[in-house]
Amino acid sequence: MKAGPSRTNRPDNTAFTQQRLPAWQPILSAGIVIPGFTLIGLAFIGVGVALFVTSQKITDLEVRGKRDTHAVLFFFQGPVFFYYGLTSYYQNFRTYGVSKDGYQLSGDTYYFNVRAWYSCAPYQYDSNNNPIVPCGSIANSMFSDTFQLYQVVNGMKKQVPLDGKGIAWWTDYNIKYSNPALVNGSFANAFSGTVKPVNWSKPVYELDPTDQANNGFLNQNFLVWMRQAALPKFQKLYGRIAEGDYAQGLPAGNYTLLINYSYPVISFGGTKKVVLSNVSWMGGKNQFLGIAYLVIGSLCIVMAMVMLIIYAKYKFTDDDEDM
């Protein structure tokens, strides 16, 4: 209205402004949907069968309770993994999960004594106000049972070596966690002025005195524990059986498991178990995934059948008009 006579308000004549953009308009007709469903269903069933069969092939052995001699009836294909499992253990509780100090765990001694934030409370200082390293609830509650596995050969116990290395994430022990530098050539000196977590029996620098690469914050059992479990019922890797006579697997026979029982679970109604298992391309033994794929795949097929029947019964010749 204020426009001069020279200015025109005529809109641009482009496909965009006139909403005439070229477009692909798929119509979900019976000819596409029924074969589509069938194909998807077949694919799912295929994947499901593969997963299920693979999972079936995985051998696992669960040890509950306190019986300590077990018979392995057939050759246990290696490498065999040794897990411990806990139930009703809320490692995914939010305040529990944040109860650690990432700076401390990356080896920064400055944070041994300084409160980076309060998330470690109440496992920040002991009663004498000495800083706890590693601080926080997760570290404090580290699983403390130890296991030793023996094969009983002719009444003699032959130890099966459990390799506690190579069980944590590569990123964890290479980047995320690191030990503080040695002080005066001694690793323990780096932790001087700090105390061990309340529940621990030995300080962090003595977790694996035999191997400095597996000691301190880089101890792989520690790393495995520090990685929060997803659900209250979980397993954690304890070691691999991949050395010596047992590199190819566990031969059939009798085995004895020696458990140094120190971790309390009875108080909260939890249970402990030990699992020996080998793995496949899809990970550990897991039948659920295969079954889920099979169920969804067969549902697709059933839906396709139902639609086919409906389609055969009432042939909608003008279904594109209905859109």
Binding site: M1, A3, T8, N9, R10, P11, T17, Q18, Q19, L21, P22, A23, W24, Q25, P26, I40, F44, Y83, G85, Y90, N92, F93, R94, T95, Y96, G97, G102, Y103, P122, S137, N140, S141, W169, T171, D172, I175, K176, R227, Q228, A230, L231, P232, K233, F234, Q235, K236, L237, P264, S267, F268, G269, G284, N286, F288, L289, A292, I296, C300, M303, M323
Partner: protein, 935 residues
Amino acid sequence: KQQVRSYKYSPLTFLPLNLYEQFQRAANFFFLLIVVMQVCGSVSCSNLTAQTHFMCTTVCLCVCVCVCRGAVFVVCVSVCVVTVCMRVCVCADLLLLCSTEPHSLCFIETFRKQIIKLLPLLFPPTLSLSLPLLVSISCSFFSSAGVVWCEEPNGQLYSFQGKLHWKGQCHLLDSEHMLLRGTILRNTDTAYGLAIYTGSDTKILRNCGRLKVKKTQVERFLNKIVLSLLMVALLLAVGSGLFEHLISPRIEVLSGISANFPAAYRGFLTFWGYIILLSPAMPMSLYITFELIHIVHCLLIGWDLEMYWGKRNSPAQARATSLNEELGQVGHLLSDKTGTLTQNHLLFRQCCVAGHIYGIWNRFSCGGLLFSDQRLTNCLRERRCPESREFFTALALCHTVMSEWKDGLPRYQAASPDEEALVSAARELGWVFLSRTRDSLTLSELGFTHCYRLLALLDFTSKRRRMSVLVRNPEGELKLYCKGADIVILERLRKDSPHQESTEQALEVFAQRCLRTLCVAGRSVSEAQWTEWSHALSQAAMATTYRETLLEELYEHMEKDLMMLGVTAIEDRLQEGVPETICSLRRAGVKVWVLTGDKTETAVNVGYACKLMDPDTCLLQGEELRIRLHFSMCLQTELIKTPEAGARFVSLSNQCQSVLCCRVTPGQKAEVVQLVRKYSSSITMAIGDGANDVNMIKTAHIGVGLCGVEGSQAVQNADFALAQFSFLRRLLLVHGRWSYRRICSFLHYFLYKTTSFALVHIWYSLYNGFSAQPMYESWFIALYTIMYTSLPVKCLGFFEQDMSSESSLRWPEVYLAGQRHELLNPLSLGVALLYSIYTSIILFFLPMGVFQDSDLDYQTLAITVQTSAVFSVTVEIILQTKFWTKYNFAAVAFCLALYFLSTVILHSPRLFLAFPKDYIFFGTCVISLIDTEKA
């Protein structure tokens, strides 16, 4: 010494005031709460810095919009007498004292910038002050010598009552003496005014009132969702309290952390934690995207070439940005007739003088020729018939037209096109209106110039429906000329007025031809009568109470015993495409009501002409209306005054093909709209072009203004502005329908994607002791709605077309879905919610089955679930989109790529080493992603 604040906000008050206004909306308050809690460390369970920043910017955005709307004007320092120069916006409500123009006339441009309305005869209050004198008057002079009494500041723009006591005299003041703030001075060099109301007391600011937030159905539903989220959070908090109370004391590792606090307090904290976790179900981006889609739809309306009217160079305009989806649900269209259905390009077609009809009726005429009739010309030339001379003198005198000389010819500027047509017709036949001053009119009658003294102007109101002038002609006689609607004139005629019967016949003939008629009458007034009457008038003008009524009575007293001079018939042609438009709107199920001030016969004929009624429809009128239910009807509005009659009337009208309301005043138009709004659930749309339709336009859900001849007042008050009535068809059937569909699918999908994503937390809480542990990485929560899934749904809202514009126009019946609210109703939204709950269950429990009793950790679970969430909502949008433009393809591909890319980047060791606390998930994405696809 005294400064008046003339703007709404000051730097100090801006923030608190504006925030107060913003938080009138529940959702805004909710968002503030979320932001505060994110910052508050003890509750916050994720680092949503990105989201916080985002929210801050959007709040700023809202603030800016508010500033533009909230009328920020320049500061003006109050001195009592304010000088206003040409083309300057008046900065306070002023009492106009005088101007530099002759007779102190003053022209202003009224509110909202567009129309140039000349305030007729804006006298200074008869103060004969010379300019220099006035300028020299200081405020102190005024305060000592003169007193202005005025009413309390109020928001009524068009009324003002006050008195000026000055030099012992009392002058009455009304709105004609006021220069209101916001108006602009035009064609007047300088005007001087006394500041009456300043700052926030000015009428325009008072009139602005509170911004009414219109609560749409959608908004109410969203509020319910917010409420139910709070309830869910509360339930989870109770769960948390119970867990803390019953289970965690037994678990040493957990009870150690929370030993210092009672379980109830932990539950309380968890409540806020869950509010944060569940808030993404109702993200602020929903509101922002919703607004954005509306704005794009409005732009598309403006860009439509098919709604561009080349003759006036005016494209369609969407002035309100929140009504697009309602365009697709209109159930009642209430239309003005004059200027809306018709062109309002008036042609003086016929007239009836002294019982004779002049002018040839030719129904095939295309409107090119002017009125011509040899008989009338002869009659005038030969000065045979005194009535015909009187008739044209009356036409040339009785009006409020202003003349402007250009190239030696008078150009007329009239408030209404009728007046212009009549004065022009008189000019063509020899009675040329030359000029007007405050108290005289100059005519050229067949070449002889005469000057008439204007004694009184009894102005036109929609209630009186007539106007008169009292003049002293050159011979010294006093004459009253009156012009008005036929019924009001006919009942004021002298008993023995000649030609009455033939005139009434002529009126009927004109009505049948869809011509608009006006009666012209006159009388002589004796000197004695005039003296008495003028005395009474000046007394009445002094009255402070009931002035209007007194004046009306006086006018009534003068306008009686009239002599019929003649009848004018003006043709107003239908606009192009009106019958087709009405026809297809009716097929689309829209009930078309026409409201007109015309007489019944004219209205009915126009109704037939524009296909509003089929020739074989049955007309229900008056008494019949009460008893019969038939197809088409015509009503006297008096019938629908009582409420129960109103309900019955609307239900009756729903069974009618169409409704014509005749002889309605502007106020009644709005009442009819109100009636329809009240008694039917459908969306009403009112369309009109003139100032008399403003009421109606503002009352209806959607107001459409036509940029017509009668100024742009209707457009200024309307939500949509069109150039032609026929564009309405495209606006409703194409744009309205598309908008409705797009917005419905947008809302469904958006709710689906946000709730299915957020509700996973509920299921996870069952397995983490109700501890408000987030299911996803915090970065993912922050970026999910605004980056990973935002573009495809925007494309859906912008481009989706279920059928082309041509097909929508060809089959108007598809519009019915909108009227029945088929796509967006509580049921459909409920189904969408159930669907999203189902999805969230799948999203959580399938991975849970896999992760249960395995050595896979929490972070892997989080990545798995979030990847499945992105996949399943992307699959859903792929299924929802029916119209795949290149932008849709690009958006889907871009968002998926963005998800993977940003996940890789966010998990990179480099970021972790720089900010170990913010990027705790690093390294996780290399773990194989188990994809749980849903059927």
